[in-house]
Assembly symmetry: C2
Homo-oligomer: 484 residues x 2
């Protein structure tokens, strides 16, 4: 839709100012509001319903792959965080500290969890004794605090919600298998439920999790051409098991340290949904995650309350019956036109309009939010048609996002080209890299472009080229981008 | 079951030492473990599955009665807590304070939420403008921190999980209606899902929530004769709306302060389940809440892996198919007898035993955890029979608990009798009370008995008596007990 044709006027068009659009739409659509504490937000019911849908669909996958949920303490004693040096250095600038309980000053200050490896490691050392106790496959849904300097609703907030998986295994191979299984579960989840295509692979040493052996991630290209890290899965090796003394008697009665993984996705996914799919008129939610999938708007002319409303109510209960999240907007203080614009802005995937003329014709008008395509659908087949259209919307939103990703992925050889592509076209850039941190850092300093992932090599892939920065020969092709 | 006949030997019998039994069973059954932070616990997968079942069933009721979930910040600025004096005085001895973020000392210290009225009140003042915005019906699932002096797993812990509802209304009457609707929803939930009968009514001034107009509660009698508060619902009046300036333009265009309610239930419910239903052998969970409803134990004799195991696996998938939470314990390192005792201790409502002889007879043996009744059930009707037995267990557990409550509710007139009943028989005591706080306090000081609730009067109830302590005439009959 052209920005001048749009009905929605309350927000600045995305194409004019992406960053302002992002913060305006979050507040106008009542997804979230700023809280009176630095960097914190309130997730309002319409935004929280998205998180509930995400949690429900992701939790199902986590359980089906053999994990159980548990709950560990919010507070972590300072001495526990200090045990793993890399981990502490990575997180200490971001930790909020509790120093007083009631009227008393505490003997040891407590970190409000920035992540839970340390406290969970401590518990695992008590619970794990033998190879029979392994694998331990536990997940936690929790709130996390990180004292961030620059914050942005959903993308980077002092407090956020997430799930964090923490597993322990007999061997390196099993921990690695788990790490990669979760990564592909995340990819499948984000693509099929959120309709966001992702690239996946390994992080560089510089970008990996503080305390991990290897970090893997899924990243997606947002519609402003910047990349967003959406989920990470870490092979922790034996770093934490050695400092927390998590040992087991193996099958040969020898004491061994366990091999661990940890992995997480957060409310940041809501930011990704907004930035991937939104347009000048506001939000567009994929049906599988949308808080409201269908809004019914009765055309309020003549004696619509006698003629139209009962039919609309009937449609509402029919759709509810087949499990569609539906809202009949029968408010009298607003015109149909106002309602069209309101629900467009709020991203409801499908609108059903029904007026006196439609009822005479035994049909309703459906309007897709993603394409604005109108369709006349018979009241007789309405349930099936709506279910069908919702499936089509989900599919075509993913296809559209994938097209966008492909169109905005560029391959470059030379650093000069790299810089100009990053400035003009943005998007993802595939380029060779020699593997040295010095090159990685210089590229970052000069361009603000970072290595997002080192993708997995396909079986027969043997591409060779020259490092973008130093020109050294390399067979490592990586994805660069400016990132959130 | 007599304590000498029990199979379970790992824990002290409940009838010998209730308090030790309680803490032992929690750890042996792996419901929870102590965390290395004062008063904090880890809820392990088996315990957390109970909380997941509780949340799922309670959240459904909360949503069906028109409420939506949202999420508010973990931290509350000190100045917000200070706005409502009563509220601050009530909570300040229990608040954990964050004073540092990263390397910096904060200008204003932040409370880790002991409850969320203050932060939510602040947000409501921004969101509510007109009577059209009312009622606001929001619920939050969250973690809560209270710096308690004496703690006990599930019953009183520094951190716990709960739901807290916060509503705003146009009139006192609507807020009161909401407060009482929630109270009866809580009662129905606890009785039908947790199989715990409760008494309900109003709290005295002394026992009410800091900042409320009135507090209502449900309480249940635990099997050691002490009472446990299981849920509270507060009519907040205009206390918070006045200090947080939550005003709306009413139907006559006049500015009014909203009327509010708040209400909550927590992981304490898990403590109630343990203490209400457990016996000398350990836990007994009602089927609707049990993490595992049925455990199948193959009798491992002869070539059981060829003969018995496939049948057991078949039963497992049949039961899964009809939605039963079932676990086939096919571990080879343990004997059937050990498994019987293990799953008895862990409170699984129904055990199915199946051995070579059962297979010849085309049946299995079912053993109810609550009564230890054995029944031979045909493999042909197994699904239906199991579903039927689970329903019967749920029903008879509630009946048994109700009988216990009635048998342990005593009416007394004289303070001497009150003291001796409280010492010898324990349980709930119904007695008249003049309404004066002085009497209430003296009774407490002398006996440790407190007024649990002032029950609602039935329509024609006009009982009159004399205050237990001062002898003054009174028509207020209340429930006393020693309480957790």
């Amino acid at each position: 839709m052209n920005k001048d044709e749009r009905l929605v006027k309350q927000i600045i068009p995305k194409s004019v100012d992406f960053s302002r659009w992002y913060t305006e739409i979050i507040r106008k659509a009542e997804l979230a509001d700023y809280a009176p504490i630095r960097g914190m937000m309130v997730i309002r019911p319409y935004g929280f319903a998205i998180w509930e849908n995400i949690s429900y669909l992701l939790d199902k996958r986590i359980k089906e792959s053999g994990h159980s949920n548990a709950y560990f303490p919010l507070f972590i004693p300072e001495s526990y965080l200090q045990k793993e040096t890399e981990h502490l250095e990575g997180f200490s600038p971001e930790v909020a500290w509790v120093t007083h309980g009631g009227k008393e000053e505490l003997e040891e200050k407590l970190a409000v969890r920035p992540t839970s490896e340390a406290i969970i490691g401590n518990m695992y050392s008590k619970w794990i004794k033998s190879w029979r106790d392994l694998p331990v496959l536990i997940n936690q849904w929790a709130n996390i605090i990180r004292w961030e300097k620059v914050t942005r609703p959903f993308l980077r907030t002092t407090e956020f919600l997430w799930q964090e998986g923490h597993t322990a295994h007999e061997t390196y191979e099993e921990a690695q298998e788990e790490t990669l299984m979760i990564l592909s579960m995340y990819k499948e989840f984000v693509e099929s439920e959120l309709a966001i295509p992702v690239i996946s692979g390994k992080k560089t040493e510089r970008e990996k999790f503080a305390g991990a052996l290897e970090t893997y991630a899924i990243e997606a290209l947002m519609s402003d051409g910047k990349s967003l890290q959406m989920g990470t899965s870490h092979n922790l090796g034996q770093h934490f098991s050695k400092v927390f003394n998590i040992r087991f008697e193996d099958r040969d009665q020898k004491l061994q340290y366990v091999w661990q993984s940890s992995w997480g996705m957060s409310t940041r996914l809501i930011g990704a949904l907004i930035m991937s799919h939104g347009d000048d008129s506001g939000l567009i939610f994929p049906p599988r995650i949308a808080p409201i999938q269908v809004v019914i708007i009765p055309i309020s002319v003549g004696n619509w309350k006698e003629n139209v409303l009962p039919v609309a109510q009937n449609i509402e209960s029919e759709l509810k019956y087949i499990g569609v999240r539906v809202n009949l907007d029968a408010r009298e203080e607003f015109t149909p036109g106002w309602k069209f614009s309101e629900w467009e802005m709020r991203g409801v995937p499908l609108r059903l309009e029904i007026g006196p003329r439609d009822i005479k014709g035994n049909h309703a008008v459906s309007v897709r939010r993603d394409t604005m395509d109108k369709e006349i659908i018979s009241l007789d087949s309405l349930k099936q048609d709506v279910a069908e259209i919702l499936k089509r919307i989900q599919k075509s939103m993913l296809e559209k996002a994938l097209r966008f990703q492909l169109e905005n992925t560029h391959e470059v050889q030379k650093f000069e080209d790299f810089k100009s592509v990053l400035d003009s076209k943005k998007g993802l850039i595939k380029a060779f890299w020699c593997g040295k941190q010095a090159c990685e850092e210089k590229i970052k300093d000069e361009t603000m472009g970072t290595i997002r992932v080192i993708p997995f090599k396909k079986d027969k892939e043997k591409a060779v080229g020259n490092c973008l920065f130093c020109g050294e020969k390399s067979d490592v092709l990586v994805y660069f981008a400016r990132a959130y």
